[in-house]
Symmetry: C2
Subunit: 337 residues, 2 copies
């Protein structure tokens, strides 16, 4: 049987899926990412989470064809290591994550970049499937992104796709990355939260933090923003409008450069706010777009918050049916363009 595992390792949660040969989810589980300890504790939690998902699917992890992992930080897929994962506990030095997981699970493990695998998931199985080329934007804590050209991720020298750090306002707002005027400085959840906290200290009125407390949160999560928008909180409307304009300008620049067919919006905020807000992003692009008469299509990520785990499962060799006649034909056709 061709059954695979996929794990999405995030700064706040670990999500695991078991999928069959047609990429159907047979079992899934999510847990909180440990905030104490170190990489081997995180690896143990990842293995346990996948184990639970496998139990729900009725398989042993050792029977899996393989397990793919989408990880933050610097991923060295060849050596099976992850380094400099800033949001994970004491994870600066390269850690042999593939080997640690493989030993715990009894199955081969492949590593990939978190944003990359989610984008591959959308390209191969989700909203990006009909398109030869699209730009993916992950609107979450930060702004991640990626570029799919001829159905393949364009990596450049390895760091391509950082849509969140395109400049939309020279000398503009300070970004968490330290530069000024990046898209993320206006649209990243973390940057928006920092701005809201400063504004509230200065006497601004908003229900954001009351909603946060009622939800038992310590951060302005996507759900908190969504609730405040539902309640027509004026400050939140202003903050989100500002984010939409930044995303619109950045995506318009990307489209002016690449003239892709579509945009796929994922990430915590992107998925939570959904298609109406994706369309607001498209509207915010129009004043800046070089081809406003034929804007790209815009879709919310179809795999939703499972994109990372399902996309990771595609890292397992053979998962995409590379040797199937249909796939070979498609590859040949896209090369010929």
């Amino acid at each position: 049987m061709h059954i695979r595992g996929g794990i999405d390792l995030g700064g706040t949660k670990i999500q695991a899926v078991i999928v069959d040969h047609e990429h159907r989810v047979l079992g899934e589980m999510r847990t909180s990412t440990p905030h104490e300890g170190g990489p081997s504790d995180v690896a143990a939690t990842m293995a346990a989470t996948l184990g639970e998902a496998a139990k729900l699917a009725g398989v042993e992890t050792s029977a899996l064809l393989g397990v793919g992992v989408g990880s933050p930080g610097f991923v060295d897929a060849r050596n099976g290591t992850v380094a400099r994962a800033g949001n994970l506990p004491r994870w600066q030095e390269p850690f042999h994550l593939a080997a640690a997981l493989s030993e715990a699970l009894g199955a081969p493990v492949e590593l990939g970049n978190d944003v990359g695998v989610a984008l591959d998931g959308e390209s191969f199985l989700g909203a990006g499937r009909p398109y030869d080329s699209f730009v993916g934007v992950f609107w979450g804590t930060g702004i991640g992104g990626g570029v799919i050209l001829h159905h393949q991720r364009w990596l450049g020298r390895g760091a391509a796709g950082e849509l969140g750090h395109m400049v939309i306002k020279r000398n503009g707002a300070r970004c968490p990355c330290g530069r000024r005027g990046c898209v993320e400085a206006y649209a990243g959840r973390r940057a928006m939260e920092a701005r809201a906290r400063r504004d509230v200290e200065r006497g601004e009125k908003t229900e954001l933090f009351d909603i946060m407390e009622k939800k038992g949160r310590t951060q302005l999560s996507a759900g908190v923003f969504a609730k405040a928008l539902e309640k027509h909180d004026r400050y939140t409307e202003w903050l989100i409008e500002r984010a939409l304009k930044a995303l619109g300008a950045g995506l318009a620049s990307a489209c002016t450069l690449l003239d892709v067919e579509a945009i796929v919006v994922g990430g915590g905020l992107g998925v939570r706010l959904g298609q109406p807000y994706a369309e607001k992003i498209r509207d915010a692009m129009l004043p800046h777009l070089f081809t406003p008469d034929r804007p790209p299509a815009i879709h919310v990520a179809e795999l939703g918050d499972r994109a990372g785990a399902i996309g990771a499962s595609l890292l397992v060799p053979g998962a995409k049916g590379e040797n199937s006649p249909a796939r070979r034909e498609r590859n040949a056709a896209s090369r010929g363009r």
Copy 2:
């Protein structure tokens, strides 16, 4: 003999070359673009210009393997027509330029987009040759651009590469395209000239217009800007610095998205101001670049102001040696990446 022609049709000049099978220029000629009449007058001037170049090369135009043309406006290569060439006299409707030239020259004619053929020239024969991927920026009257990925121009849905209309300042300066805050609004020669004229009317001091008059020009050409910089005209230094910052921010965004290996700077101003200013552009990119520790290489277009005509000659089928074993091998290698 494998001898080809190439014509670069510009708003101010028509440039023609005759090249041999190793792309060496055997003869060349340039004339002013007619400002009166219509498309057929322009076509007649183009044919005459190529005829003069052929005479210098000692060949009959009817003996040419083919002639390539780089044209502004909307080029329909398949039908051999050009439409909406705004800078050319009465050239809105599609005109059968390929047929008109072919009849006058007695040789087959291929059409291409002006920026595109210049970029192909740099990619295949010029500064871009060592690179698998680069961004070309044509710093001239407007800001043209293009993206080369795996040695091929990325066209998207047909309009990719418009680097000049990426947004670098939301709600910023008005661009000749009608939008706000585009790179071209700050860095295009035409936009800079408009700004200088307004500033002089308001009492700003600059030698720009004296230099223009001494050179017998009616516009602030690249040579006028270069002369004013040589003389350390303060206003010109400010205006060019502002242009460099805009180019730097736009190119940084392009690199943050695509992480290409290099940038090739062409166009009237780019070629005239040369490598020292290309390096100033690179320096202006650094504060915005996602990978400032390894910026892309930056080079001035090697084919200089012949890039358009030589690049156009590559449109002739067989010009790139598509069927040579070395070429086939290279194509196979870049597909495999």
